[in-house]
Symmetry: C2
């Protein structure tokens, strides 16, 4: 097999105005070019501890167990679910889009008995609807997304923690699409486990999943702790409860790894940890409230841009995520051709959607580094031009 | 919760001469500072296809299914095992160190009936011993490491594929610690699934796991294909066989994601993909044979350095990995104090080991960017100085 040379990376730069990933902050890119450290180097353990501390502020919690799962946002979801769920446990998932279906599917692969409630795409649940379902099914765990980019809707969560506590259930929230873009005060809302990714409002790449775990949930997970045979010391006794079905996603082991004990598990993804640290550092330097306001302002600019082009936004605007906006593709317009031209002629990426909305809506994101007026204006100037060509056809 | 400012990353640079992670090549660090692209951007899909093509050359195979799992090397292991194993399947693991135990543990969490054979730490198996165990247990899958850094031993694998084929078993090899440092001609040796990481001989960071899958293994995995509910199209029929227990590690879905169909699964870890591409690009530009020779030469230099310091190498030298060398800690020397001084006074990291070898051996790596004479010389100059202080005590 002959060696065929491949050139260096030199992509034509794109402005990423879809539902994510989006462009990374330049400071995050620079942080990722920092030379590696060993994972037990005191300098690196300090970076890990700082990263935990930063994400406690981002998540607005004092949860000791605030750590990273090495994988994409989806890895964070699976780590949370597989560690919380014992086969046979009942799990209730509130589904308001594709990523709700994903939670249900992952829970079911973890061996859960899954119950779902659904609401039409483009809407969210009243807290009472969730409470009724919890009361009826009495699940061990209630799982939902905060924002589901497939529909661009954001589920109000202020009541969920209390509802779960009332019925003795754990709560899990997938905040991948919203963390850093809208409020998510984990402690105040009493949420048990929340996970996210960097590639949306945090302005970093996919590949590491920040997560916070309440003491109560951590205790339930830790009860199932098992140490690998190659690492066991004398007198070790395995935890009670069935062993967590995954080694990689075993949060009991990952908590041990992140603890001062620093028990070996995976080899930390150094560069992604650097990125996670930098994303949180930038967000907190800006200030959470400022970042939320910036995303809200970008959202208003997107909606104003749609009005100017006589395009109709999708779904219940009272519950739209600030960082992504769905847009009905006008009759007679080839949505995919428009996306293609936006990309090829203007170097701007906007999104399509999934399942029932595929080819029916575009999704325009304005988040993280791109939640700024110039990025929105550039997008709409290009979209106007592309649509003019399209409407002349 | 007040915002406590955290400074930019500015680690004191270390020379990483442990069992990995090691220093990344500067070109890999630069590749990771390249701006992100959307995962369905034609430019990015081209980078993915190039990365597959590059790793086909690195693995010396034509396997169509040569792809990346987004997570550390351990994620690659778990993806391979959970996708190959159906609960109740018999799996034989050849254990010659801690990472063999890890394979057994992961297989067992996947629901396998696990059988192990063990050989004393510091030795490897005769192929005949493996064949006898395969003949006796008739496993569906035989799993082993190529190199187990915990003992610094490398298992000869040339016969394994043939043995497995003879008894109708699949073979899985964890090549995390060796890929790029010693020969692993996957096609010639007839291995089914091989996975690795970047943080050893490839000179990149942990966080993405290159993997190659034979057509035969891919077919067995694909037979269990299930598409997420949110993505199913009309007429979709789920695969036969039990659904793979993990969504994130479902290689059938990951193969779909990597295919031209580009079915959505995770959001590709862009930066880690860039790193994986650059690592392979550099290795192939150097030439595999040259890289193997460079690691072998560095290994000889390490052994010569040990002789000069009258230190005794660990284990069966005929089967030592070229990129890591175990060293008996001399009587009366505090191994951890030496490691600490190497790090704090000389900015050089060397390793300890696990389980029965913890505190008994050091592990000195010379791999990837650090498999070069100057790095080995600097390490031994420092070690001489530290040991002189130690022996005077």
């Amino acid at each position: 097999m002959a060696h065929k040379p491949v050139p260096e990376l030199k992509p034509v730069p794109r402005l990423l105005m879809g539902p994510g990933p989006i462009n990374a902050y330049p400071q995050v890119l620079r942080a990722m070019s920092v030379q590696l450290l060993g994972q037990f180097d005191p300098q690196f353990r300090r970076y890990m501890a700082e990263t935990s501390a930063l994400y406690r502020q981002v998540f607005r919690t004092r949860n000791r167990q605030t750590l990273m799962v090495d994988g994409t946002a989806r890895a964070g979801i699976e780590a949370a679910l597989v560690s919380l769920i014992e086969p046979g446990d009942k799990v209730l998932v509130a589904v308001f889009g594709r990523f709700g279906h994903l939670l249900a599917e992952i829970a079911s692969r973890c061996g859960a008995v899954v119950r779902t409630i659904e609401t039409p795409w483009g809407t969210v649940f009243e807290p009472e609807a969730i409470e009724r379902a919890v009361k009826k099914h009495r699940p061990k765990l209630v799982a939902t997304c905060q924002g589901d980019t497939s529909t661009t809707m954001a589920q109000p969560l202020a009541e969920i923690g209390r509802i779960c506590a009332r019925y003795g259930a754990f709560s899990y929230v997938d905040a991948t699409a919203t963390l850093g873009g809208m409020p998510l005060p984990v402690a105040r809302w009493g949420l048990d486990v929340v996970s996210a990714g960097l590639q949306k409002c945090l302005g970093g790449p996919s590949g590491i999943a920040p997560m916070t775990i309440s003491d109560r949930a951590a205790a339930a997970i830790y009860r199932r702790r098992h140490i690998e045979q190659g690492l066991q010391k004398k007198g070790y006794r395995p935890g009670r409860g069935p062993r967590i079905r995954s080694n990689y996603f075993d949060l009991a082991m990952i908590m041990d790894y992140w603890s001062e004990q620093a028990l070996n598990h995976h080899t930390e993804a150094t560069t992604m940890l650097y990125a996670a640290r930098e994303c949180a550092r930038l967000l907190l330097a800006e200030g959470l409230e400022h970042a939320f306001a910036r995303h809200a302002a970008a959202s208003r600019l997107v909606l104003a841009g749609l009005r100017e082009l006589e395009l109709e936004p999708y779904g219940d605007l009272a519950h739209k995520m600030p960082n992504v906006t769905g847009v009905w593709i006008p009759q007679g317009v080839d949505g995919e051709r428009v996306r293609h031209r936006m990309l090829e002629r203007h170097n701007i990426e906007i999104g399509t959607s999934f399942g029932p909305l595929h080819g029916k809506i575009w999704r325009i994101g304005a988040m993280g580094a791109n939640a700024r007026p110039a990025a929105v204006r550039r997008t709409f100037a290009a979209l106007r031009q592309v649509l003019r060509g399209e409407r002349r056809r």
